[in-house]
């Protein structure tokens, strides 16, 4: 009984540590997870992930801004770095996969990095290609990684023009992923015009859009 209470407290503590941007707190709690033999998958999904989701909610409510989300994601990654090596392989294999990158001609990567954090928190395996990514690389990577979703980001009206070309390349890859786009000059209308599958106006909404795409996918 004590162990259960303790476990719940630790999970709650992990979540709080992410929300409160408490780097040392998450290190201490992750060590406790390992010391007490708490299931690592549960610690990630009900602790760290839950915390990042709450941080996202605070962002949506206008209480948190990008500085807070960056620090929350720093804490998330600190926790994941400690716990992930202890995940059992069978649980790793269940992960959905995403490839993400800022398209060629653009180096603005804050939004992309936060999308990556939100997907990582959501249990996805994220293959981050970085920024200023040559368009062919998205197709090559998709052929290798066979991701469920590819996220393309552009922050300028000129680099936005790379997105339809990247989408055409990805449509020729096998398997064809869902393509999610975002970034300041884009809108739902332009995303549709470029034949993307989804558009997210910010990092927090991106995971929801991706989950909806996968949910609505015909068998």
């Amino acid at each position: 009984m004590n162990r259960t209470v303790n476990k719940q407290e630790i999970l709650q503590g992990l979540s709080e540590a992410v929300v409160e941007m408490d780097d040392q707190g998450v290190v201490d709690l992750c060590k406790e997870v390992l010391d007490k033999g708490i299931d690592v998958y549960t610690a990630i999904s009900e602790g760290l992930t839950e915390g990042m989701k709450r941080a996202g909610q605070l962002y949506n409510e206008g209480q948190y801004f990008i500085p807070e989300l960056i620090l929350c994601s720093d804490v998330l990654y600190t926790g994941l770095d400690i716990l992930t090596p202890h995940l059992r392989t069978s649980k790793k294999a269940r992960k959905l996969k995403m490839i993400i990158g800022v398209v060629e001609g653009d180096v603005h990567d804050i939004g992309k990095n936060l999308v990556k954090a939100m997907f990582t928190a959501g249990g996805w395996e994220v293959d981050d290609l970085g920024s200023d990514v040559k368009l062919e690389v998205f197709g090559d990577e998709q052929k290798k990684e066979k991701a469920n979703v590819v996220g393309l980001s552009a922050l300028m009206t000129t680099s936005m023009l790379a997105i339809p070309t990247a989408i055409k390349i990805l449509r020729c890859s096998e398997p064809v992923p869902f393509i999610l786009v975002g970034g300041a000059p884009l809108s739902g209308q332009i995303a549709k015009q470029y034949q993307a599958d989804g558009y997210a106006e910010d990092a927090v909404k991106a995971t929801t859009v991706a989950e909806e795409l996968l949910r609505d996918k015909p068998d």
Binding site: F65, L71, T157, M160
Partner: protein, 354 residues
Amino acid sequence: MPLNQGRISSEQRLSLLLNRKPVDRVPFFSFAQGFSTLNTGYSIADYYYNPEKSFYALKATARQYNFADFSLFGYASFGAWEFGGEISWPEGAYSQAPAIKRFPVESEEDVLKLGLPELATAGFIPRFVRFAELHEDSSGYYTLGIEAPFVGAGNLCSVTRLCRWILKKPEIAHKLLQVVTDFKIELIRYLAERFGTEKMIPWVGDATASNVIISPQMFAEFAMPYTKRLHENILSLGYRHIIAHICGEQNRNYPYWAQIPMGDPGIISVSQEVDLEIAMEYFPNDIIMGNITPSIIQAGTAEQIYEEAKKCLEKGKRAKSGYMLAPGCELPAKAPPYNVWTIMRCIDDHGRYD
């Protein structure tokens, strides 16, 4: 259909507006940078790399489209190169502006030992000087993008690092902002001494201070005081006007921007995320400029662009201290020329004052 040039020249119209006199019709500030050099057979990189080509391209394109004769020179990432970082020129197929390859500030220690650059030789500054020299014997106003301290601080250390310091090391963020502000004040003094203050209107943009990135409280603490000090110094040097490009979604920052002196009158460049009426409310004594959505100019139909420009004109013409139609941010470098011409046609149809 040829465009109507109006009863007075573009230059006269702008001069009247800046002197708070009535004008015949709404001027158009093109915000055309790479668009102008592409339009005249050069590359986007030429706009930044070569002041002679840039000067020619801006003048020629303004004449062709009947834009306001008001040349803009600069880029948002200004500051990194000047403090010893590295930039790349926009030479790729999809590049729009110089990008930072290496930030000059990577640690708290770097901030503490940061000194001011040698103005005569640092980074892009010689190009500012050349661009200003070209205007000495030319008509028309010009504006150099010295940018706001907050975006400048992000350009030195990366926006991500600046965000971390705001929360974890605010004293380091303030120290960096002080140095960046000092640099910009020294730069504007240097330009004023060399070229006077009559024809140049300093451009102070701030995209990093958007409420998509920071809270209004963070703006009040980390952006507003430094931009205010910069503007006070600009005006004390004798510049009459400042263009404040309030870039991105900054609705909640407007009460703070309104506490910053802008000149007599200042020019408020309003991004498409902010209603022109909000800007008009906070800046009744300044010229309002904006705010056609750039991505619509790039990807929209001529009808959509015409409608958007018309809506802006209908609101903007009610601004008490004058109005300039303009894109909310840079005119897309590869915008279809017909779409740009459509904006000018809309001014012909709906931009006249009765």
